[in-house]
């Protein structure tokens, strides 16, 4: 770089950079402002494209994908945006007015609490499935869960057992209860690792970080996990029933669209998809 130009270059660079940052700032604020405005003035008609934001428990991660795809055929103008998480965490967010329209929880007590707090619409509460808990292990682990059942967790080869966080995930609570009622909890308590939600728990055990894990059946039968491991279904009487319920939220932007989605979930088409993912259905 010619020395003569150096001082000029730095002053030029300085000027350019100042310009660029000013432009960037302006752009960012303008676009952010536009973003902020959008949800507020969306009062869509049935024919316009509307968005339904669903806060869904993580055990629905794969099942809901299929449901949404099927729903799209039914109602092409309604766009479903799912956000997955532990039911307890989602519940916390919703009590803080998180902008969702529908809440699908793995534990129906959460939607009930929301109705009590008038954050959800009273008569939209619905039970959509009963959850199943399985003990899963990768097919390379050499642990025969199918034969040993729950006793597999006591195997010395098992160094880490994954469950979901009992404080925030209903499946975690169920897993903890099952381990206790089946009499193995004390033995293996120090080998437990907790995933933030049931999907994270499944990922732990799928990747081998944990040797075995108590996860949702709906995740175990999903394409992502199906051929990678074997599982043993935990008997339903070993833990309090996982009543999975949903509700439409009071702050829902488009209640009509939300209602349509809810209706689809409990319709025969929706129920069929849930059955495919191993859910037990109410009234079945």
């Amino acid at each position: 770089m010619p020395r003569i130009e150096y001082s000029l270059l730095t002053t030029q660079l300085a000027k350019w950079s100042r310009c660029l940052t000013a432009i960037a700032m302006a752009l960012a604020f303008v676009s952010a402002g536009c973003e902020a405005k959008q949800p507020a003035d969306s009062t869509p008609k049935a024919t316009e494209r509307s968005v339904v934001r669903v806060a869904a428990a993580s055990d629905l991660k794969f099942a809901l994908g299929d449901v949404i795809a099927a729903f799209k055929k039914d109602a092409p103008t309604i766009h479903i945006e799912p956000t997955f998480g532990a039911s307890g965490v989602l519940f916390e967010q919703l009590t803080n007015h998180a902008p969702f329209d529908v809440f699908l929880s793995a534990d129906i007590t959460y939607p009930r609490k929301l109705i009590e707090q008038q954050l959800a619409v009273a008569d939209t509460e619905f039970l959509y499935a009963y959850g199943e808990l399985v003990l899963w292990t990768s097919k390379f682990s050499g642990i025969d869960v199918e034969k040993l059942g729950i006793q597999a967790v006591t195997d010395p080869k098992v160094r880490k057992i994954a469950i979901a966080n009992p404080k925030t995930a209903p499946y975690g609570r169920a897993a903890e209860a099952a381990l206790k009622s089946l009499g193995v909890y004390d033995t293996i308590q120090d080998r437990l690792v907790e995933g933030g939600n049931i999907a994270e728990t499944a990922q732990y055990v799928e990747s081998g970080v944990a040797d075995v894990g108590l996860i949702a059946l709906s995740l175990a039968v999903a394409p992502a996990m199906r051929d990678k491991g074997v599982f043993w279904i935990v008997p339903a009487d070993a833990f309090p029933r996982l009543e999975q319920g949903g509700v439409i939220l009071s702050d829902a932007k488009d209640s009509a669209a939300a209602e349509k989605f809810r209706a689809f979930l409990i319709s025969p088409a929706g129920r069929q998809i849930l059955t495919n993912f191993g859910f037990n259905l109410p009234g079945a």
């Binding site: 003569i4 150096y6 001082s7 730095t10 002053t11």
Partner: protein, 359 residues
């Protein structure tokens, strides 16, 4: 008469304190030297005059303009004082070339300013260096650019902080003579800080002597050097021999002073007390090997050479002649006399050259 009047007090948090009471011309060309050892507060005074530091009490007035007044809470920033400041390390802007440095701060239209810059570049012998960056210049060139930049804005008062200290010895001597010429061309009153006696003598018209934050003496340079007000000033201005003595006889404006093991004749005021300090500059001592010689010299002391130290073109010779006397003679002279340590030698001092200060 237009004067710079400064009377202020600057206190530092660590306890150091600088008190200034000085006057300097505010019109026409003159160079006032602020002279003293390191840490005596010279730079502080300069910075307060420039507006870079704010004193606690006092006033600074430049002619009719009040630059600082503690009581009235007036404190003009440097931008409004119209001073030109030359920093010890020059403070040239590293991201601008020579022409841009000099042009920085020059007011007025582009073409006007460019013409002024051009004339300064010529005056300071910087032709052809327009586009060089400061780090590509020699020490001497940097100094000239810094000076040109300070002068470019036609300051009312020029403040120079140790303008020659960053230059090496030989360069220093060359620049010394040029500097006075340039300052004269600028034609503004100048205050210059230095601790170098040769710089002060070569460049100053007036001198202000400082020590430990206080001004001890100020006045025309030759006067202060010839007649330091007290021992400290004498030491600072470089009077080599300062010894206590007692006046034993007075006669028509002259006094006979007993100093250690010998006596000296010197011009002394009638009112001067008996206990005095005798100040003798090394330059005023003549050395000879001859014992007796008819001359006007009143003081002829016999003694032995204690030490000889050669400093460039001069030789400083310490002689024990009843008092420890320092003589400064030229090297050739020293060689001609073949002076060696331990030699017997006569020191001749004119009575009028001996300066007497009350003890």
């Amino acid at each position: 008469m237009n004067e710079l009047v400064a009377s202020f007090d600057k206190q530092y948090r660590g306890g150091a304190r600088v008190q200034a009471e000085l006057r300097a011309p505010a019109e026409g060309f003159s160079v006032t030297v602020l002279f003293g050892p390191s840490g005596s507060g010279k730079t502080t005074i300069l910075r307060c005059l420039a507006g870079l530091e704010r004193p606690e009490h006092g006033e600074i007035r430049f002619g009719a303009d009040v630059w600082f007044n503690a009581a009235k809470a007036v404190n003009l920033p440097p931008q409004q004082r119209g001073v030109g400041y030359l920093f010890q390390q020059y403070a040239l802007f590293p991201h601008r070339n020579v022409a841009q440095n000099i042009a920085y701060g020059v007011p007025g239209e582009r073409s006007e300013a460019a013409a002024r810059v051009e004339s300064l570049i010529e005056q300071f012998e910087l032709s052809g260096l327009h586009n060089r960056l400061p780090r590509e210049l020699s020490g001497g060139q940097q100094q000239r650019v810094a000076l040109a930049r300070a002068i470019a804005c036609r300051p009312k008062l020029l403040l120079l902080d140790e303008p020659l200290s960053a230059l090496d010895h030989t360069l220093r001597q060359n620049v010394r003579s040029q500097l006075r010429r340039w300052l004269k061309q600028c034609a503004a009153p100048t205050l210059m800080v230095t601790h170098d006696r040769d710089d002060a003598m070569a460049l100053g018209d007036r001198i202000v002597v400082l020590d430990q934050g206080r001004i001890l003496q100020q006045g025309p340079l030759a006067e202060v050097f010839a007649r330091p007000a007290d021992e400290t000033v004498a030491k600072i201005v470089g009077v080599e021999t300062v010894v206590p003595g007692q006046i034993v006889e007075r006669q028509a404006g002259m006094a006979k002073i007993a100093v250690n093991a010998t006596t000296l004749w010197a011009a002394a005021d009638e009112r001067s007390p008996d206990r005095v300090l005798v100040c003798i500059r090394g330059e005023d001592v003549v050395l000879t090997r001859a014992a007796e010689d008819a001359s006007s010299i009143r003081n002829r002391l016999r003694g032995r050479v204690v030490s000889i130290s050669l400093e460039g073109p001069v030789a400083r010779v310490m002689i024990d002649c009843g008092l420890q006397l320092a003589a400064t003679i030229t090297r050739p002279a020293c060689e001609e006399l073949s002076l060696q340590t331990g030699d017997e030698v006569y020191a001749l001092i004119k009575a009028t050259a001996i300066h007497v200060v009350p003890d």
